[in-house]
Symmetry: D2
Subunit: 142 residues, 4 copies
């Protein structure tokens, strides 16, 4: 049973800044891109893109270990760290695919919200069911 989802991203010139490394804010965009690939993999991407339930981010965190540079091939690993009725916390690790070095790790917390009432709501059962497969329970993590 897989516990993590992995996807690739190639660093583009526009991702870099004048320090000649990827701008730190873009790591959060890579996190989200991995989440999109993950939902695509789960067959849920249409749900993510046009839905009654939206999943705004309520928290974001990242530690930057080593810089990424133009043309680097990144491997982004996603796990479901916590799964609650109305919220999900994804963990991310970004590696340099070529040398397997860890460049960054962090998380995003998203909450399910009804698009029209803007009140928190439950994550749909079928979505939650699929997310569970990638849930790293505490027992398994340590």
């Amino acid at each position: 049973m897989p516990q993590s989802f992995k996807t690739l991203y190639r660093v583009s010139w526009v991702d870099t800044d004048a320090a000649q490394i990827v701008h730190f804010s873009n790591f959060f965009r890579f996190f989200e891109r991995a989440e999109e690939d993950f939902y695509r993999h789960l067959g849920l991407i249409d749900w993510l893109g046009s839905k009654d339930v939206i999943m705004p981010r309520v928290e974001a965190f990242c530690q930057f270990k080593k810089p990424a540079r133009f043309n680097d091939l990144l491997e982004i690993e996603l796990t479901v760290e916590e799964l609650k009725e109305k919220a999900v916390k994804y963990g991310f690790r970004i590696y340099n695919k070529e040398n397997a070095e860890l460049l960054a790790n962090g998380y995003l917390v998203a909450v399910a919200v009804n698009r029209y009432t803007l009140k928190t709501t439950e994550i749909p059962k079928d979505v939650a069911e699929k997310l569970k497969t990638y849930h790293n329970s505490r027992e398994k993590q340590k």
Copy 2:
């Protein structure tokens, strides 16, 4: 009678790329930011942001003369190059405010579209009226 609208923008670190200059795509974002400041100046910003008539861009062009760098203060000059029933063409010039050097010039063409039918429609009279004030007619330009 003023024929151009001018606004300022300060280059942020994230606007630069690994060549240590502003990424060329950001000049188009500066164009649009000047357009937003222009509509704010005209008292039309609420119209631009939430409206039945949307103004998607159908053409964009820019010549890059000299690079802009981190912390540069840019002056962006907007003129209304062409004003038709259903379309407007803005001209832009971006200067380095400190030394008055021209860094880039270009244009955007936007077309009025009904948000719901997605068909082209007329630019509202009151909007067109205000845009005319900044219209550089050919006779005046040359």
Copy 3:
């Protein structure tokens, strides 16, 4: 004696996403923009932009309380949360200027690094001296 630095930022159309709110990653860019305004205010912006000592980010965090939308005027408040020999932690709060609602709060940790050796180094004395003025010591905070 001022303990926080405040600056303004106007949300541009490009800052928004298909949820019609500011993309979460852009809050980190607003944090950094406030840092740049802060260094400009301190007379240290040239140091930040072209220097032997660079200040890469090693940690970034943000809680998103309420959405920001197109044309919102944001007030970004910066404090120096921690000041060490080789690192600084800035705290940020982003408010909707019009109604004073807190939209987001978070922090950035930056470490001083020698540009050529890429080893951590001390924050220059004159920079540290100026940062101290904005340092919220624990005693003062609570």
Copy 4:
């Protein structure tokens, strides 16, 4: 003999704006991403990324025919429209891969510049040789 290079790009959430379509400025970034994939395909990507000769853009143009949306798979087609001693003009067409609709077309002109003297210089022979293979001569185009 191939005359065009094709590559794919999947639209991410962050690429969209509050009109729920891809922000027009991002099409220029997709152009450049295709150029990077092209140089990677030619075995010249290291040349593009770290080189004595840099290739700043001097002109950019795009016509937007139809909107791209979140999760759309785009096919970007690149041709070498003009190849001079010191400059290259790439033509681009962006299609919706699923239904083959043309979404946008445009071009970028890049000039070879010596990184240190910042004077225009010749495109290296081996680079020019490879670019020629993708050159749409006028005779062939019409």
